[in-house]
Amino acid sequence: MSNLTKEIPKEERVLLRKIFWRSFTLYSSVSPAKQGGSGFCYSMMPFINKLYNNPEDKKEALSRHMSYFSATIPMSTFIMGLTASMEKENSMREDFDTTSINAVKSSLMGPLSGIGDSIFWGVIRVIAAGVAVSMGQSGNVLAPIIFLLLFNIPAVVIKYYGTFLGYSLGAKYIEKLYASGLINILTKAASIVGLIMVGGMTSQMVNFKTTVQFKMGGTSVLNLQNMLDQIFVGIIPLGLTLLCFYLMKNKKVSINILLIAIIILGILLSALGIA
């Protein structure tokens, strides 16, 4: 592992370490539409400032990393490191396709979180809590400390090395890709994985269930949700996501209005007894 960090020039190592420290605050201002977006942007700032001297490029990079980001924290720095290496390529090459940066980001966050959530929340946390609870039940005051150490040591170690691993893997591969002209093919491939993941996340995370039932003589003759499910499972979340996308892209509706509209919609649906 120490070889991993030594291969990277000292100056960049310092910047990566800053990313690592800043990444702790990923979810400080977590919100429904952005999750850790602002935290990701905050983490990338030292690198962005180093790479881009032109204010326009810098602004572009900042907004690029302000988009929705959600990943298990210990896994997030791997993506940050990889992103940093792509930003570095972008700063050095005129022809770099910046959509590939977000394509890589969004295709990685799903699977890495899938692995991360089950390892950290599902396994390590439960083990740590199990040990600590049995200590605490006998009144051992060290229980909370043992709990925090058992969970956080593996989490922080993986987070730390992840930063460098992501960066050096990314830097090496991207160099090669450019030399062989494969980057366009790869951007397309990454976008495909990204789109598949966004599709999957939409199905898994955007949820809506209606409770409407039509009754006749006390027995339910028509359950609207079942009917909707027979037409297409998740038709409402899919439709809503596509509608939001359409409104943002083609109608230039601001995200503010969309957020307010959805809140009103949610309370209205609840008030009318639809969901």
Partner: protein, 268 residues
Amino acid sequence: MLVQATLVALAVFICVGGAELIGLSMLNRPIVIGPLVGLLLGDLHTGVLIGAALEAVFMGIVNIGGAQAAEPGIATAVGTAFAITVGGGSQVALTLAIPIGILGLQVKNLLYIFLVGFFAPVFDKLAVKGEERKIITLHFGLWAVNWFLYSLVAFFGILVGSDAVQALLNAIPHFILNGLTICGNLLLAVGMAMLLRLLWNNKIAVFFFLGFVVVAYLKLPLVALAALGIIVAIVIAYNDFEISQLAKAGVGENVQVTDSEEEDFFDE
């Protein structure tokens, strides 16, 4: 009571807020916050015992993403405080903890959707303008305001007692609480739409639907979906690569095509 309420609110701010500030580091779990409240109120032993008891209850509950159950941090803090001041051990702590945990979750959702949620577009605007300082201020400012307001729930919870908490919870119309839960689930659509805006390309947009259908009908976990996605992407990338090689070869003069099928293709 005022001193105790302040101390408990402080514990909630440090632990529940702190967990969000330093990387969901589990500071907000009952096993940590129980002993801390015990320490602050001068009865560490009870704090540890109740923390352990509540951790066992809440072990299955992890509030990540859409939060659905009682918030364990505030539930433990207030429950432990009552158990220490009123007495009665972990049974009392648990019964008192649940209503305030549910109330806490509602307040947390409110802050998540209305306070921080409304600043999401502001973040975008600041990024476009390149206002780094302001992004940083907002990033941490929102955190401080959010969790300060949240810890007030614990403060008033201790001051007014558990009956009042239950009464308050009953007073909020059910449809509002339910509506907020629906919002929490639907608002993610905006986040997904923003990702789509970054990735959308009419030629490959169909893959978005592939991902959706596979998860909706086959209930594949995201890791499996990613593996599937990567396989599809590799196949397509390989095809593209071959086409690009052929295109390159086609441009050159001395093309040596080994495959007879490809020869046929060029003969046409």
